[in-house]
């Protein structure tokens, strides 16, 4: 009887511990409102050409045009996607305002602004 009671107490204790642990994790999990914004490359334009995002958001460019493009920092090309074939995508998480362009077709330009 005592052994059975001990088992019951042990099971109850473990269950409570596990539940508490789960609850803790849920409460401690960072609440993320990060969003992935999409920029479509089509008709020799970045659409939208100007985008305002929150810190932590990501931006994904999708090449839906008929020729190869890229996404490069304007004007220094300090970062870039490399050549994006038709249908390919490039994703990044900006940490500051950026101006970018297509270095293959330099009159195609875009901006990302941080809120």
């Amino acid at each position: 009887m005592t052994a059975r009671f001990t088992k019951l107490v042990l099971v109850a204790f473990l269950s409570a511990t596990v539940l508490t642990s789960c609850q803790d994790k849920k409460e401690k999990a960072p609440i993320s409102d990060a969003v992935v914004h999409t920029v479509i490359i089509e008709g020799m334009q970045f659409n939208p050409a100007e985008l305002t995002i929150n810190s932590g958001d990501e931006v994904e460019w999708i090449n839906r045009d008929i020729v190869v493009h890229d996404v490069s920092e304007d004007p220094g090309k300090t970062w870039g996607s490399g050549a994006l074939e038709v249908g390919e995508t490039y994703r990044m998480k900006p940490i500051k305002d950026i101006d970018y362009f297509c270095s293959i077709h330099p009159t195609m330009k875009g901006k990302i602004k941080m809120k």
Partner: protein, 182 residues
Amino acid sequence: MYSRTFFRKWPLGIFLLIFLFTVTGWAQNDVPQLNDAQIAHIAVIANQIDVDYGKVALTKTKDAEVLQFAEVMIRDHEAIIAQATALATKLGVTPEDNDVSKSLMEQQKTMVATLKNAKKDDFAKLYIDNEVAYHQAVVDAVKGLLIPQTQNAELKSTLEKVVPLLEHHLEMAVQAQRKITQ
């Protein structure tokens, strides 16, 4: 002698006049009537011609900007040719030779010879001036002649998608022209 000098100085003007008067026939109010197979052929030939000009540029100039421009022209126009060919295959259309594409090829031969024979110092300006004139003429022809006469919706849509690219090439060529002229 006079005609040689004139032709050396004014190949672009002649090209443009021939294109506008005999190819589009707009000045004579005699617009050629084209079917989709002929339009597909013209689209492929017109793109191939600019690839050909770009390939001459790669052998004739060391100007980094002109070389980069030529490489973009070759890559973009080859991509369009591939798409036009794939579309024609999908639609079961065999591109059909016609008077417009024949005329374009004749002009290509003349211009390629002119570019190949140009002095190296003169080449960049000659090539870029031709790119401005050629893209302007092609934009006008695609918008004013080919798109209005195209019957197949998919072919028409492809031509419409090419227009922003051609206009962008024209803008790039005009900017390059300004730099060379300065």
